[in-house]
Amino acid sequence: MTAHASADVSVTLTVNGRDVTRTRPAHVSLLRWLREAGFVDARLGCGEGVCGACTVLVDGAAVGSCLVLAVQVDGSEVRTAVGLSEDDGSVGALQRAFLHHGAVQCGFCTSGMLMAATELVERGEPLDRERVTAALEGNLCRCTGYDGIVEAILAVSGSGAPPA
């Protein structure tokens, strides 16, 4: 028996500015779809929408990609951490701030954390520590204690101390 099989479905997404079409079973999550397409910077940490390591932007909104089926977002624009770098391949502003503030240790949460932070920063609202920590509640980090991450986001949003 193949209780876990489902019909194949063609899904087209614009991932980091590039159109990608893949035909996969309908039950394949957006996270699995992306990872199978080579976008492995979206990480599988829990598979139940708690840890946030799989966070990507779908049409600008931060989404736990393990909880969404690829077919549900067919035709959407998806951004992952790889898409945050500059055109020459160097780190973008948010990534640079993470680097300078020691916001990365093992790095497994980093991609998802960057995308949650990108959504927050791109809203353009004034930020303070409470707003940042509230916005990051869905993104777990076990290494850093979050301080470097919070400081980096405040710095890049113009609300914190300049990069060290």
Binding site: T2, G47, A81, V91, V104, F108, L136, L140, R142, A161
Partner: protein, 770 residues
Amino acid sequence: MSRDEVRTSNAGELRVVNRPIGRHDAVEKLLGHTRYAADLDLPGMVHARLVRSQIPSGRLLVRDVSDAVKVPGVTAVLLGEDVPNNEVWVDVPGQTTEVRALKASMQILATDRVRFHGEPIALILAETEDALADAEEAVRVEYEELPVVADPAEALAEGAPLVHEQGNLLAEWTIDRGDVDAAIAEADVVVEGEYRTQLIDHAYLEPEAGVAWLDENGVIVIRAATQVIEHFRDVAKILGVPASRIRVIAPYVGGGFGGKEDMTVEPYLALAVHRLGRPAKMVWTRQESLLARAKRHPVTMRYRTAARADGTLLGHDVDITSDSGAYAYLSALVLLYSAVHAGGPYRVPNMRLRSRTVFTNNPPTSAMRGFGGMQVVFGYESQMDRLARELSIDPGEIRKRNAIARGDELPVGQRIETSVLLAETIDAVTERAGPKPAPSRSGLAVGRGIASNLQSYGRLVWLKDSASAWIGFETDGSLQVRIGVPDIGGGQASSLVQIASEVLGAPLDRVALHFGDSALTPLAGTTTATRQLYMSGNAVLTAAAQLRDRMAAEVAEETGQPAASLDFVDGMVKGPDQSLSLADAVAVCIRRAAPVATLATFYGPRGSEVDRRLESGRVFPDFTFGTHLADVEVDLATGQTRILRYVASHDVGRAINPQSVEGQIRGAVAMGVGQALMEEVVVDRGVNLVGGFFQYLIPTSADLPPIECVVLESGEGMGPFGARGIGEPPIGPCAAALASAIEDAVGARPTTLPITPERVLACIDEAAKA
């Protein structure tokens, strides 16, 4: 303004080391380029998944895979009988025949008996991920349920069911120093307490994962998330092949904390490749990781502590019991750490300690950050607070009066050989915190607590530790470092780059580090026991210094300048009269038939094997000391605790990368806060009730205050440039500092972790009755 301070003594003329440098691995991680263990797929690979026991204790009556192998896409389903050497023996050192469970073993795949919920029984190999799930449901396992031993008290009771035939007592350690009964008799005050810590999961973000394949030389290569590439030897024993035929590669690991110290996916991946000759991939689900990977020991401690009226400690009478769970793993050694650290960072002239670790049908327990040395902080620091209150002495003052110093001995007989800045850390956190804040509204109570600790760095001296490193120049003057460290996120690799750059003058962006490969990089030992910077840092420093001295001698002769006048810096060998680029210096050496590469090994201190009765003196290379201060606000109606302020100070000897040091301290505090207030793997008569991260809450950004670090640098550690280890030490004081703060707020002390709102309310009731 930075919230963190680094107070340095005698940093000398360091140019690369001792600076807060953004780590090279962080750049790749930020760009999304890092390929973790689960990020590799190979053509023709099979997917692997374990079928695990649904019950905590039973005999296996039926293991029927006949339906499972017929599931479309299933390649094979393996049982214990398919494993060449299915029985893995665990060394339980230092024990005598008085302890019956001397010989401990476990099976790779259980054949006749399961002892914990989640124990592996069968290995499914399939062409697709989806087929794994179908096959898992099709494997038929029938059990005869056996009695469950649910905790150590049950395990030690007369007539208890045996988890293992040899007995439920796995290991014991004792310390007898001085005469604790006389100390108690002559004491002005004796305080007593019982303290309990809970079962904790590492909860790193990266679940256990790996890919393995057979290479063109007939070697099975396992690329897995691990802290220990030396497990290639264990895998070889399981397969019955020469150790040289197994190679383990550790890519950047998404968090370890001890949870990837024992093998996880490795034997199963190797078995699949051995059996099929095809690549195989195994990724554990979060649920599997929470269910079945070895966790932190729950510990019950009883302390009786004697002191003089001026607060001088006279002695401790200590009894410790830890729950080893169903299998031995590293439980005997974790308990040894508890015993050796049980007196804390104080002079304890008299101690009687009895300790034991016991088999139960609970999830196995093994290494986790702090490794037995952290649980006892909750015990001894609670006792220090009780003494302080009883004697009306300031908690910081009583600790300073008893602080151990260079030349003093720990109760186990080990003499402290380096300076101890314990009092300085107490002053540092107290000064930094300033006056205790007032409650923000009525119905809230504010409390302050401090706690100090010591934690060893480096492995037990009888394990005869060593680390090797290879360093070589390329002809363009760029530098390669090869060293077998696994990097689990603490900056293990980048600190070594800094050290090599410091000594040999190659700019950081011209140094490449190749790490974590048991076949191609010199073995440097495990990324455990807070040993990598100490051991591998010293190995890199030794190799770099040897290479510099040799090259300086050649350049000196070639240029007619004294070797001692040459400075390797900024990509140059600079002399008083003539300077060369590193590339030119390399050319000089090649022309003169002198080496431009070297291999060096650093040896840790040696000691005789520890006996069950701990009296052998030196156990560890050295220790790291520190103090934490917490201010909390407790809601007296709900029992909710909010941390207002958290300050941590440790003497790190020398901060090789201050950014990494602060990262270790802050991360350890976050993890310690989780253990203190939130986390517990809940087990009901052997059944693990945690079904996912949604039921295992770790601190989020909203649960933590900014964590303030005051980093002290005595320059006296045994690591490179006087560094001490800092990976594990900062988790120690957290629970005790928070318990102390809560007691200060509500008037009674929590003695069981985690300190949930219910337990805080119980303390409030207890204080009201008193």
